[in-house]
């Protein structure tokens, strides 16, 4: 029996700077740990599925119970490597295919 279902959050980075996927992962983890701690972070099953440095769109995975938590985390990210940014959530989907549709739109 599955204990949780995956959700995929599609986001777009609004910034004058360019970030690698590693930068994004580090930025999200740092804010996640700062806001919810190690126990809270462990419950999210967070993983960055993909991030395009070119068009600044990304898809992250989390559990269905931690969607709101991850939205707060994305909203609370103010900078990565000193460069200011906005992590703007475009939508949430139950499948990667559905998530990619948000990017195409």
């Amino acid at each position: 029996m599955k204990l949780y279902r995956n959700r995929y959050i599609v986001f777009r980075i609004i910034s004058d700077s360019s970030f690698s996927a590693d930068n994004i992962i580090h930025g999200i983890w740092r804010t996640l740990l700062s806001l919810f701690g190690e126990v809270g972070g462990s419950r999210t099953n967070f993983w960055l599925i993909e991030y395009s440095q070119e068009n600044k769109h990304g898809i992250l995975r989390c559990t269905h119970t931690s969607v709101d938590m991850m939205k707060s985390v994305l909203a609370a990210i103010t900078e990565i490597n000193g460069a200011p940014l906005i992590a703007h959530v475009l939508g949430v989907s139950g499948t990667i295919k559905g998530a990619r549709r948000f990017i195409q739109e």
Binding site: I14, S34, P84, I86
Partner: protein, 228 residues
């Protein structure tokens, strides 16, 4: 369609860093229908002409811009005097609750729209009595998410704790709550849903947090358009 408003942003015309055009364009991308520019200080001796000029500049922006004046005097008399002078030609009047006397006066006064607290510790003034006055007058308490975004560690924990208590008090007393970004650069802006998500850190249910960036600010704007 839901109208989302951020009633507290400042551009480089006031104390901010980004231009009004940059702020407006980013707000539009994030999904706002209107923003309130708090670039006007009564200490600059606000003139009708200057306000009209700025308002005209805003009229070319890709979304509706509202003029907001922050009254930040420690004396009620001074606040009252300036309020009488500016009320008819600004969209939003916010009063800085620098002390109890000013807070009570602002909470009672129907010509005031918003009560804001320039320092986190000042939110401790939000109690049952103040919320009761706010409920009767229809004035709103503004909670800006900027201090949450800009603080870290212990300071952020303290900030969240105080804001959570204030939000709980306002919600329990059925007074109006308005969530704003308080942004002074375009990167400090947050989408309406992001503001609501940050509201959830203050234990505000998502639906209520969404109202705090849509219905509640809209009520404030509409009551000026139609004072009856």
């Amino acid at each position: 369609m839901t109208v989302y408003l951020d009633l507290n942003v400042s551009s480089n015309l006031g104390g901010g860093e980004s231009t009004p055009e940059e702020m407006a364009e980013t707000s539009r991308i994030l999904g706002f229908s209107g923003i309130g520019f708090s670039d006007f200080s009564p200490k600059d001796k606000l003139k009708k002409e200057k306000l009209r000029k700025v308002r005209d500049a805003f009229s070319n922006l890709p979304l509706r811009a509202y003029t907001r004046v922050n009254l930040d005097f420690e004396s009620v008399t001074k606040n009252r005097k300036v309020l009488n002078r500016i009320r008819s030609f600004v969209d939003i009047v916010a009063v800085a609750c620098l002390n109890r006397r000013v807070s009570v006066w602002a909470a009672r006064n129907a010509d005031v729209d918003l009560l804001y607290f320039p320092e986190i510790k000042m939110y401790k003034q939000v109690d049952k009595a103040l919320v009761g006055l706010l409920r009767d007058s229809g004035n709103a308490v503004e909670i800006s998410v900027r201090p949450i975004l800009l603080s870290r560690g212990l300071r952020r924990a303290n900030t969240l704790g105080i804001l959570r208590s204030a939000a709980e008090m306002v919600r329990r007393g059925h007074a109006t709550l308005v969530l704003t970004s308080g942004a002074s650069t375009k990167f400090e802006l947050r989408s309406p849903r992001a503001l609501a998500a940050l509201g959830s850190l203050l234990d505000i249910p998502y639906a209520e947090a969404k109202e705090a960036v849509s219905t509640n600010p809209l009520k404030i704007i509409e009551r000026r358009d139609d004072p009856d």
